[in-house]
C-alpha cells in the first residue's frame, strides 16, 4: 500500500522568492525519511510540495516533477483533494478542530468526504485512535471537545485524524517541537509502529530524533539568507550521522554551523 515518492528537479516559489531549487530525491515505501537542516533552508517547503499544500498560500507555485508510484501529482488533470487524501500531513502545532468533539475530529476526514454510516465511522475512529496510542486515554470521553486535551494528546489526536482516512504517505512537519519529552517519545514510538504500513517523511530540528527514528536522512541547506534551499546530501541515516560525504553536513550535525 505504501508508495514510493520521486522528486525530480522540484523548485518552489513564494511569489518572486525562490524557496527551494532543484530538489531530486527518492523515498522508498515503508521507510522513515528525516529532513534536517538550518531554519529557512526549505525543508518544510519541500514537505508541503509533496501533498500540494504549498500552493494553498497566495502566489505560491511549484515547478518540476513529483511522482507517487510513477504518477506525477503536478499534472493538470490531477485532483488535489485525492492527492491529499493519499498523502496525509501532521503539522507543527496540534490543530484539532475546535468546534468538534474528539470523535468528530478523528472521523472528520471520513465524514466530510462522504462516509455516513455510523458503524463504519466508529470502527475507523477506534482503529485510528488505537494506532495513535490514544485510545485508552480518551475512550471514555469521545464526546468531549478535542481542544480540551493536553498538547501531546492533541498532537496524537491529529495523527489519528490523519491516519483515519488511510493515507499511503504521512508527512510530519516538526510534529514534536511543541511537545515535552514524554509526549515526544510517545510519538516516536508511534512512528516505528506506523512504518509497517505507511511511508513517513518527517521534518525535524532535533538531530537525535532524526537519528533515532529515520532510515534515511536528507540534509538541506542554504548558502546565505535570500538564496534558495538545496539538497546537500541524502543517504542512509547511519552514514549521515557517522561518516557524511559532504563537509557541510558534517559541520551541521556536529554543531559547527546552523
Amino acid at each position: 500500500m505504501a508508495k514510493r515518492i520521486d522528486a525530480t528537479s522540484v523548485t518552489a516559489y513564494y511569489g518572486g522568492f525562490k524557496a527551494i531549487e532543484d530538489i531530486n530525491l527518492t523515498v522508498e515505501p515503508k521507510t522513515v525519511t528525516a529532513l534536517i537542516g538550518p531554519s529557512g533552508c526549505g525543508k518544510s517547503t519541500f514537505l508541503r510540495t509533496i501533498n500540494r499544500m504549498h500552493e494553498v498560500l497566495p502566489a505560491a507555485r511549484v515547478e518540476g516533477k513529483l511522482t507517487i508510484d510513477d504518477q506525477n501529482i503536478y499534472e493538470r488533470d490531477v485532483d488535489v483533494t485525492a492527492v491529499r487524501r493519499m498523502i496525509g500531513m501532521v503539522f507543527q502545532r496540534p490543530n484539532p478542530f475546535p468546534t468538534m468533539s474528539i470523535f468528530d475530529n478523528v472521523v472528520a476526514g471520513l465524514r466530510l468526504n462522504g462516509v455516513r454510516k455510523k458503524s463504519v465511522l466508529e470502527d475507523a475512529a477506534e482503529r485510528a485512535l488505537k494506532s495513535a496510542n490514544l485510545w485508552d486515554e480518551v475512550k471514555d470521553r469521545l464526546g468531549k471537545p478535542g481542544a480540551g486535551l493536553s498538547g501531546g494528546q492533541q498532537q496524537r489526536l491529529c495523527i489519528a485524524r490523519t491516519i483515519a482516512v488511510e493515507p499511503q504517505v504521512v508527512l510530519m512537519d516538526e510534529p514534536c517541537s511543541a511537545l515535552d519529552p514524554i509526549s515526544t517519545l510517545a510519538i516516536e514510538d508511534l512512528m516505528f509502529k506506523l512504518k509497517d504500513r505507511y511511508t513517513i517523511i518527517i521534518v525535524t530540528h532535533n538531530m537525535q530524533q532524526a537519528a533515532r527514528v529515520s532510515d534515511r536522512t536528507a540534509f538541506f541547506s542554504i548558502e546565505q539568507t535570500g538564496d534558495p534551499g538545496r539538497l546537500i546530501e541524502y543517504d542512509d541515516t547511519q552514514k549521515i550521522f557517522s561518516n557524511p560525504s559532504v563537509k557541510k553536513t558534517e559541520d551541521y550535525i556536529t554543531g559547527r554551523f546552523g
Partner: protein, 363 residues
Amino acid sequence: MTTTMTPAPPSAAPGQSPQLRTRKLPVVASLGIAVAAVVLAAALVYGAGIGGTALVVALAVVFYLVGLFAASNAVEGRRQARNRTWSALIHSAFVLALLPLASVTWTLVSKGIERLDGDFFGSSMNNIGARDPNGGAYHAIVGTLEQVGVATLITVPLGIACAIYIVEYGRGRFAFTIRFFVDVMTGIPSIVAGLFVLAFWILIVSPYFNDGRPGYSGFAASLALSVLMLPTIVRSTEEMLRLVPAPLREGSYALGIPKWKTILRIVLPTALPGIVTGVMLAVARAAGETAPVLLVAGGGAAINFNPFENNQSSLALFVYQQAGDASRYAPARAWAAALTLVALVLVLTIAAKLLARRNRFSR
C-alpha cells in the same frame, strides 16, 4: 562571563540588596480624599450658588483626582501617584460611559411600565380615538417581527456569502472594490435607503404585483432594512472569518477535504458565535429604524399579518407616531412601545447567543 550573568540593580549599591518595601498610603486615605472632595465641591457650588448636583459630582471627581495625586505623590512617590491617578481616571470613565445606559434603562422602565398590560399587547390602534385611554401595539409588534424577520432572511445568506467571497476567494482589485463599497454602504443614512426603496420598489416594481397601482407594504420596509443590515453583517462576518486560524484550514485541506466543505463545516462553525453577534447587531439596528419604515411601509393602525400587501406599522414607527400624537394617552403608549422594542431586541439577542452555543460537542 560572570559579570554579565549578574547585573547590579540600578537603584542599589553594589553588594547591597535593593529596597523592596516602600511607604504606602493607608487604605482609608483614598476614601477620606473622596469625602473631602465631595464636601469641598458641595461647599463651593452651593456656597456660590452656581449649579446643582451634576456640577458637584463633576467638581468632586476633579478634586478627588488632584487630591489623590498630591497625597500619593507626597507619600509614595511620583510613579505610584501617576498609577493611582490613571486608575481612578479609567474607573471614572467607565462609570461615565455606563451612566447614559443606566439612565435610559431607568427612564424606559419607569415610564413604560404604566401601559405594559394585556390590552397593549392584545389590541391594535384600530378605531382608537384621541379620548380613548386603551389601544395597543399588537399591529406594530407583528410588523416589526415580520419586517425584521424577512430582512434577516434576505441579508444573512447574502451577507455571509459575500464575506466568504471576500475572505476565502476574492483576490486582488475586485475583492478590494467590493470591500470598499461595503464600507461606503455602512455610511448610507437610513432615510436614503428608504428613499431608494420608495423610488425603486414602490414606484417602479410594486405596480406589477398590484394591478398597476403602487402600494406600500411591509416587504418594502424589509428591503430598505436589508440595505442597512447588509454592510454590518458583511463586515462583522468578514472580521470573524479572518480570525479563524490558517492552520485549521490547512489541517482540513490535508485530510483531502475540498475547500467549499472546509469553509462550510470547519471555518463557519468556528466563527459562528462571532457571526451571530454581528447579525444581532444588525437586527437590533434594523428593529429600531423609523425613517425607512415611515417612507415605504405606510404605517396604519390595523393588524396586518401579510407583509406583501397593504400598510404595515412597526414598533419604531408606532413610537414616533404616538410621541407626536395630541392625545393625552399617547405618550404612555409611546413609552410602553419603546420598552417593548428594547426588550424584544434583548430577548432576540440572548436567544441567538444561546442557539449559537447549543450542541457544540454532541456526537
